[in-house]
Amino acid sequence: MIEHANKRHSRPKVLVGEDDAEMRSVLSESLREKGYEVVECPDGLKVLDRLSSVLLPSTVTSREPEHYDLIISDIRMPGVNGMSILEGVKLFERFPPMILITAFGDEETHAEASRLGVAAMFDKPFDIDALMQKVEELAPLN
């Protein structure tokens, strides 16, 4: 709670999980250009690692707690995939909204993601501006 209040007037932080370097670069650049702070993760485990400091008390992680306003993650990643992260995130009281991006946007995946409470899902190749619009919607800059 207290952490929340402290971070309010700094830039919103976005956690980006994407294994393709160029794709990750595009996302990070676009976000930073818009004014977001970006933390990049090349795989699911790194994402989870970062999230643990948010979701678990500092007594457990013995780390400075981080705060994320949004998670953007690819579904297909080495190690833990985006869907599992979405599922895991919901177990905790405070969880940031999640946008999933994927190349395998079939009905099943969309339905599953919706069921798990995804904030938005984008199928590759998507319009980067559309994504940025959604990002602003979910994690407004002000």
């Binding site: 160029e22 297909r76 190349a103």
Partner: protein, 510 residues
């Protein structure tokens, strides 16, 4: 000619034999008649003389008679008449020419004719006619006649018969030679010739024999047969071509079906680069970007486009119809290409495609499109066997082994390609059926069941075979064996490129 000779030789021999027998019998009969006549004449003469001699003996006495006979003999050429005493006494002059013991019957009153072959001529016919004269002594008239005439007659007859038989043989031989050749030999030779040419494949030229007999019928029948053979050949050729075309279509269809499956995996590969391209292009459009940023973005777009292009090229290469020629290929490189092609599909299904283990790349003459199809099929099956993920390993190598095709095969060097998974495996009952066309354990709509049967056919055509080991719930291993290319002209290339000796071949280890 030979046929005519065979047919007529028996006839001719028979005729000549009969003539010979006839001639022999005739000569013998005629000779007997001749001799009989001679005997008869001699006896008649004897009878005639007997009476006169007996009378004269009584009238004029012995000496007169003997002198008269003697005188008569001087004049006579043909028949020599002598008086003989049968008891053999009284000296040489009145001794019979033949031995006394042969004249016993004459002494008793019988007449006798004998052939006496002594002397250096044809023999003489000696006739004895007994004559009763006064006194107790037994005498006879001995008439001896030369048989030269008879022998001459006999010889002439024999010569004539022989001449006739010889003439008959000569005429027959000539007739057979001429007619046989014209009527039988020549047409048959032409027929035999035609048949030989048919055997060599010439079904077009026709043979017309105007002999008007069974031979010309045979020629007509042969021409008919050629026509029908031509038609049958045509039908067989058309059917064969149709079958090959159908098989090719089936293979192509299956290849495209695989492409369809690959396509969904490709989406992952292509979606991300496209995304990057569109985002970077937008950045270029954005006037706020610095020039260095522009160049960077352009470079990124270029690289990502190339990435997409490679994927598309790989897919197109796989989907192309097989060109039907075989090329000497590095099997490791072939396996690598297929693994790369199937990587997206594997990733989609959380399957790890382990990079191919390939210690020494073998060179094999293969139809690349077909072999890629086979390997893609195996790897796709492996991926589908592990719905919960897993890893698929591939291996390429060489091994000395014996082909299961044929009998008494020797060990030879073979290249092998292995695709192994940790999936659901194949049940013991299904294992013998997996290469049957349309056999599948997948759900309706999930594949045609043709893949493995087509793979089997392709590998067989390459003189290879497929080994399958599987254990339910443990995994399966598919191994393709192919004969290693010989370092000289390969026997298995069809419409292929001329082989050139690859100096690397001899240094490649087993």
């Amino acid at each position: 000619m030979k046929l005519a000779l065979k047919l007529s030789s028996l006839l001719i021999l028979g005729m000549v034999g009969l003539l010979a027998i006839d001639a022999f019998l005739t000569v013998r009969r005629e000779t007997a008649f001749f001799r009989s006549d001679m005997e008869h004449d001699a006896k008649l003469l004897g009878h005639a003389m007997r009476t006169l001699v007996a009378d004269a003996w009584d009238t004029s006495g012995e000496q007169t008679v003997l002198r008269l006979i003697d005188e008569a003999n001087q004049d006579e050429e043909l028949v020599q008449i002598r008086w003989v005493w049968l008891d053999g006494t009284r000296g040489e002059k009145f001794r019979p020419q033949v031995e006394g013991r042969l004249l016993k019957d004459v002494a008793d009153g019988m007449e006798l004719s004998l052939q006496d072959p002594t002397g250096n001529d044809d023999g003489r016919l000696i006739t004895y006619v007994p004559v009763r004269v006064s006194g107790s002594r037994v005498g006879a008239l001995e008439m001896s006649e030369s048989m030269t005439q008879l022998q001459t007659y006999r010889r002439r007859m024999v010569a004539r018969s022989l001449g006739m038989m010889g003439g008959l043989l000569a005429v027959s031989a000539l007739t057979i030679a001429v007619l046989g050749t014209l009527v039988v030999g020549h047409p048959l030779t032409r027929l035999a010739d035609r048949v030989r040419r048919i055997g060599q494949g010439d079904l077009h030229s026709e043979l017309h024999l105007k002999t008007g007999d069974e031979l010309s019928e045979l020629a007509t029948a042969l021409n008919h047969m050629c026509c029908e053979l031509k038609d049958a050949q045509e039908v067989a050729r058309t059917e064969s071509e149709a079958r090959i075309a159908a098989l090719e279509q089936l293979r192509h269809a299956d290849r495209l079906a695989t492409v369809g499956r690959l396509a969904s995996g490709i989406a992952h590969e292509v979606g991300t680069p496209l995304n990057v391209i569109s985002a970077r292009a937008k950045q270029i459009e954005n006037t706020r970007t610095a020039p260095t940023g522009l160049r960077d973005n352009a470079a990124i777009i270029g690289r990502q486009s190339e990435r997409i292009a490679t994927i598309v090229r790989q897919l197109l290469a796989f989907a192309r119809p097989s060109r039907g020629i075989r090329e000497r290929s590095d099997l490791c490189e072939l396996m690598h290409a297929v693994v790369a092609l199937l990587q997206p599909l594997a990733t989609k299904h959380n399957v790890a495609l382990v990079p191919t283990d390939c210690p020494s790349p073998p060179m094999v003459d293969v139809n690349r499109a077909q072999m890629e199809h086979v390997l893609a099929n195996f790897i796709d099956n492996a991926i589908q066997a592990m719905p919960d993920g897993g890893s698929v390993t591939t291996r390429v190598g060489t091994k000395r082994t014996r082909s299961p095709w044929g009998e008494n095969v020797k060990e030879a060097l073979y290249a092998y390609l292995v695709v192994e998974d940790q999936g659901t495996g194949i049940s013991h009952g299904d294992l013998p059926k997996i290469f049957d066309p349309f056999f599948t354990t997948k759900d309706v709509g999930e594949g045609t069941g043709l893949g493995l049967s087509l793979a089997f056919g392709i590998v067989r055509e390459h003189q290879g075979w497929i080994d399958v080991t599987s254990e339910p719930q443990k995994g399966s291993r598919f191994t393709v064996f192919l004969p290693v290319a010989a370092s000289t002209v390969p026997k298995s290339s069809r419409r292929g490129l001329p082989a050139s000796v690859d100096p690397r071949l001899s240094t490649r280890a087993m």
